[in-house]
């Protein structure tokens, strides 16, 4: 067994990165890390590239410490992590598509992000011209006498994001689901490179709109770590306030939407009204229903006055008063639970292997939450629990959301009463005062942990920024969860996962 610290010590440290260490390692250490991932001694938080190197972000088994290993690969080749540790496969396919680098030994060499429509190849590497007439994509085979295929998407029936699902079914029973994503790939990381902090922050806030607060915050923390900026206390607490409002709105929306996919519209309507109230309070207090662009590097752009605090308090009261009847409504409707209990089970071993965050991990017994395990301000000052359940089915994922709504309400109450009264909500990020640097942050969005790694030059411009959505380690498990369930239960499973397309496709 090799610990995270020992892996780090095998290489030479890079002083530039804050707050967690980064080490430049050789191929042997890189492969040792892959072995440790396979053995479950460390967990993978991210895997990304820039032109001359690949970076692997790891945490220890307990999820309380983070480190980055960097493998220089001037010739563009690096040993595949995915050949040992399958959660890395799609990340390595993406690195190949964007940079033209090669992950030697990668078991799946099909493109992932590149659909052959960009008019070029390797847009973040050599950017070679390529025809944009599409790529013939071979789906994995499922063979058998009575099997048939059901192709779904990219345009889906509802008001949702685009992606393609290829079902192989035996009658009603799903034998294999294969996802094909990246229809919403917008080239965010290329747009980030060379942009100033303000533009980059706006981009970060539009990686996945439902998590705009969580993204803006995690990006801001990475920038602040890189530049050594101390954020005023009041701003930190206001950030947490917004983040918990965002979590509340999303969880309420999800609970309703999951029930709606079991044709239980009553819950959808009840939750929809509550969600609307959260968004209206957010708009009234911070000036934007989803609170976009309210968190900026250095602090927050909008303060909350006393009237705003009262509105949030009232909102907490309203939701608290209605939550018991919603819980009862869910718990006492057996026809609904008949659909959710035992449906779409994700085994504990899988969420451990994939280091799956958010309600999917926690509904399958993985107790990880960046607000607790890697507590950042102000969460270490707040009293809250991380709810965990073990059944791993749709029902458990609904209950985790209910549990977390309760926790968020408790946190909001504490924030309102303990909000520091200082006047300052923003620390200047003017690049003249700073010398550039490299920062990394892990933040807990409603969906799970978001990783942001950023490198800023001395002029205050981004040279490279990587944003890893929690969905990267959740989407693959949906393929497993639906196996041996009926096709009609796919919407339920999918909605209980509620993975981000845009956040994943980037």
């Amino acid at each position: 067994m090799t610990t995270l610290k020992e892996l780090l010590a095998c290489g030479s440290p890079v002083e530039r990165q804050r707050p967690w260490p980064r080490s430049v390692v050789n191929i042997e250490t890189w492969q040792l890390a892959a072995q440790q991932l396979l053995a479950g001694e460390v967990a993978m938080l991210g895997l990304w590239a820039d032109n001359a190197a690949v970076h692997l972000a790891l945490s220890n088994e307990e999820g309380t410490d983070v480190a980055v290993l960097t493998l220089p690969c001037a010739d563009g080749h690096f040993p595949s992590i995915g050949q040992y540790h399958s959660p890395a496969i799609r990340l390595e396919r993406s690195i190949q598509d964007l940079f033209g680098m090669r992950a030697d030994g990668l078991p799946d060499t099909r493109p992932w992000l590149d659909h052959g429509r960009w008019g070029q190849q390797y847009p973040m590497g050599a950017a070679l011209p390529a025809p944009d007439n599409g790529i013939v994509y071979e789906f994995l085979a499922a063979e058998g006498e009575s099997l048939h295929q059901i192709p779904v998407g990219p345009v889906h029936a509802g008001i949702i994001e685009p992606g393609h699902f290829r079902f192989s079914a035996n009658g009603e029973l799903v034998v294999r689901l294969e996802e094909r994503l990246a229809y919403t790939h917008k080239g965010v990381e290329k747009l980030m490179a060379g942009s100033d902090l303000a533009t980059a922050a706006r981009l970060a806030g539009r990686v996945s709109g439902d998590s705009t607060v969580a993204y803006a915050w995690t990006f801001a923390r990475a920038v602040e770590a890189a530049l050594g900026i101390i954020v005023p206390q009041r701003a930190l607490w206001l950030r947490a306030l917004m983040a918990e409002l965002e979590r509340l709105a999303n969880h309420l929306g999800d609970i309703g939407a999951i029930c709606n996919d079991a044709a239980f519209t009553l819950m959808h309507a009840q939750c929809g009204v509550l969600r609307e109230q959260v968004l209206r309070v957010s708009a009234s207090v911070f000036g934007h229903r989803l609170m976009m662009d309210r968190i900026v590097p250095g602090g927050v752009s909008t303060d909350m006055d006393e009237d705003g605090a009262r509105q949030v308090s009232d909102l907490i009261g309203i939701i608290r008063s209605q939550l018991p009847s919603l819980l009862e409504l869910y718990d006492n409707t057996t026809s609904l639970e008949d659909r959710t209990v035992g449906t779409g089970i994700v085994e504990h071993a899988l969420v451990q292997q994939f280091a799956t965050g958010g309600f999917i991990g926690r509904a399958s017994g993985r107790k990880f939450d960046a607000r607790k395990n890697l507590a950042y301000e102000p969460y270490e000052k707040l009293v809250f629990e991380i709810p965990v359940r073990h059944k791993g089915d749709v029902n458990a994922r609904v209950w985790i959301r209910f549990d977390e709504v309760g926790q968020s309400l408790a946190m909001l109450e504490q924030i309102i009463t303990q909000l520091p009264g200082d006047m300052d909500i923003h620390q200047d990020t003017d690049q003249r005062t700073f010398s550039g640097g490299e920062g990394i942050a892990l933040g807990e969005g409603f969906r799970g942990d978001i990783l942001v790694w950023v490198d800023i030059d001395e002029n205050g411009r981004i040279t490279r920024c990587h944003l890893r959505d929690p969905s990267w380690f959740q989407w693959p498990l949906l393929e497993v969860a639906i196996k041996d369930n009926i096709v009609a239960d796919f919407p339920l499973c999918n909605k209980s996962f509620n993975c981000s397309y845009s956040g994943h496709d980037l």
């Binding site: 994001e161 919403t184 609307e276 989803l290 009847s325 409504l329 409707t333």
Partner: protein
């Protein structure tokens, strides 16, 4: 469940009155639509929504139109699953190159007369994503003809509702 149903039955509806629609805007739009809408639709619109690469914020707000507060269907406006049933194509996102063909084919699958409405700045001109190697230049209008833009990042449900009601009124002007 019964308790909740009874409570709702006995309380006032949460649905709010619709936003006011500007008459000048309606007649201006009606003039633009005139040559398209030989056959009028009566008091209803069926919308097929396509996300052409948005960040999903616009979808959140479009979904909110269906909550009881906005209750879009009371105006005869419905979201439909098939483009074959749709009068209006509502598009969000800057149109990623990987979604371009899906957007074109959805439009082609719709029967005439048909209208295209965009929601959000990205759909209008690419927004923050303009100039990316992965996005079409010029937003939705570069791919399918657009009749109405609803601005915002994202547009609020009230703004979306106002835009759709303007369109509904415009299709009924003689």
């Amino acid at each position: 469940m019964r308790k909740t149903l009874f409570k709702n039955l006995l309380s006032h509806p949460v649905s709010e009155p619709p936003p006011a629609v500007d008459d000048d805007e309606v007649s201006a739009l009606a003039k633009k639509l005139e040559r398209l809408s030989k056959a009028r639709l009566g008091r209803s619109l069926a919308i097929r929504m396509v996300d052409a690469g948005s960040c999903n914020a616009c979808e959140l707000e479009i979904n909110a139109l269906n909550n009881p507060v906005y209750a879009l269907d009371r105006f005869g406006i419905n979201f439909v699953a098939s483009p074959r049933h749709a009068d209006v194509l509502l598009v969000t996102g800057p149109v990623t190159k990987s979604m371009r063909e899906a957007l074109e084919r959805t439009y082609q699958a719709m029967p005439a007369p048909k209208w295209v409405v965009t929601a959000g700045v990205c759909a209008q001109n690419g927004g923050l994503f303009a100039g990316s190697y992965a996005c079409v230049d010029g937003g939705v209008a570069a791919v399918v003809p657009v009749n109405l833009h609803i601005a915002g990042c994202p547009p609020s449900p009230a703004e979306l509702l106002r835009g759709l009601l303007t369109l509904l009124s415009a299709t009924m002007v003689k």
